[in-house]
Amino acid sequence: MNRRNFIKTSSLTSFATLIGAEVVFGSNLPEGYNLIALQEGDPFSLFRKNKDMVVLNEKPWNIEAQAHLLDDKITPNSNMFIRNNGLIPQNIDIKNWTLTIDGESVEKSKTYSLQELKTKFKAHTYQLTLECGGNGRSEYDPPAKGNQWTIGAVHCAKWTGIRLKDVLEDVGIKSNAVYIGYHSADSHLSGDPSKEPISRGVPMSKALQEETLIAFEMNGKEIPLAHGYPLRLACGGWPASTSGKWINRISIRDKEHDGTKMTGTAYRVPKNPVAPGDVVKDEDMGIIESMPVKSLITYPRSGAVLKEGQKLSIRGHAWAGELSVKQLEVSIDFGATWNVCTLEKPLNRLAWQHFSATVSFPKIGYYEVWARATDSKNVAQPMLVPGWNPKGYLNNACHRIAVKIV
């Protein structure tokens, strides 16, 4: 019923904007025809994704990119991963969409309409790296539970919105504020309306950063529905789960936020290193904050065959959570020798940095080109899969591509 009303109240064109896809032959649809959208059907046309994107899960939708799909300097919607914890909201009413700021640590809770947010506060645009905390999970041994992301759960789009700190200033925050926690319009997989699929947040220090946005545009257009239309948080450099989608409420807490997937083992790693497969008590797990240094070779696609003497131009991106990347090196001999690449500065803080290099190969045969980034604190990517953790987070092992010289 909601679905049908939703279709009726919005024209097909605006519906297409919502799902980021054109409804093909939309004008030929019979009146009252029920589009079974958003949870069933072909995700590539539904969310306008590149056909090479890999679907890990249909319910909830979890779709990842491959390295070569992330070659653009600014990731387009078509190649951005989707990580959902619940079901995409289907009855979005823009006119009545509000954002409420409440919680123990607000002077007085306040509710804004979308229009108020857009007109009352100054808009800012940042390119922000958002990477799923579980990106790379598939490499852990023993395997960790959850979606088995390989390398494609990262993107770096341009987000336009208002600063969370400007809104919090307008509301008035008490000095005992510790954490923010978002609440969203998506629904729990079980259909239980009393449960939230996910309600995470960040400490006040991150919430008050200039780049932390309440975003309403992505790459200069309305945010596609799968990426959080009409409002989402954007906390660059932190696990993407802190950048809540479809947000309608932000609670300012006087303690660490205790919403769904904040507690227990979710988005947490052992406070002290553990052996692979160890059982770790909940109280020995700590919340992930900044993501670690990492890089991807986005050109060429793995599997390139070159003629003897032919040089190979490679390129890609590197990022380091809250930090910047100070050096990027490549190796064609499994780390025995490294060569420093050209590395660009980020467009702004928390955006990924582009690298490029020309690689020559001494003789015919099978090679792997490995890339290794080093952050501003001199911490580099490991070549091996890093310390095992029960939920398989933070795998920032070097990316590599296969090359054959014939």
Binding site: L56, D141, P143, G146, Q148, R301, L312, L384
Partner: protein
């Protein structure tokens, strides 16, 4: 006599009509009460029709694979399909590799946080199916690059 017969007939007709009206009224009020108690009551009808439509192919097995879900055809398959795919996709199950202890812990977690029901005797059937058909594979600290699709790269 004819007048009386006619009169009796009319009485009978009225009686019949009253009966029909009262039956219709009671059916309508029952439906109304059902709707009142359960606003989604009629959606069951939709679900029923959907089920009868898909029943033909629902559990089709091809090359040892349950076509609808992608699960391997083995002992316990239907128990897994019935209990493990109503909230999330079968893909979430298939891509995970765990031993019996960790599957049991995952089931407990789903019961505590995701409204999974008590599986009773089915729990053992499900865990046995998963451990037998989707066992963990040792990967070590770093695997070889797999499934390389070779292609000729020309300088541009």
């Amino acid at each position: 006599m004819a007048v009386k017969d006619n009169f009796n007939k009319q009485i009978e007709d009225i009686g019949r009509q009253l009966k029909i009206i009262s039956i219709i009224t009671s059916i309508a009020s029952i439906l109304f009460i059902v709707l009142l108690l359960n606003p989604n009551g009629f959606s069951f009808e939709t679900i029923d029709t959907e089920q009868t439509i898909t029943e033909v192919n629902e559990d089709l097995i091809e090359n040892g694979i349950h076509v609808r879900t992608g699960f391997k055809d083995a002992e316990g398959l239907l128990t897994v399909v019935q209990n493990c795919t109503s909230c999330h996709s079968s893909k979430l199950v298939i891509q995970n590799r765990m031993n019996a202890d960790r599957w049991n812990a995952t089931i407990k977690w789903m019961q505590e946080t995701q409204n999974l029901w008590d599986l009773g005797e089915n729990q053992e059937v499900i865990v046995n199916y998963l451990v037998a058909n989707y066992p963990p594979v040792e990967k070590g600290r770093r695997e070889n690059i797999k499934d390389i699709e070779w292609y000729e790269l020309n300088n541009r």
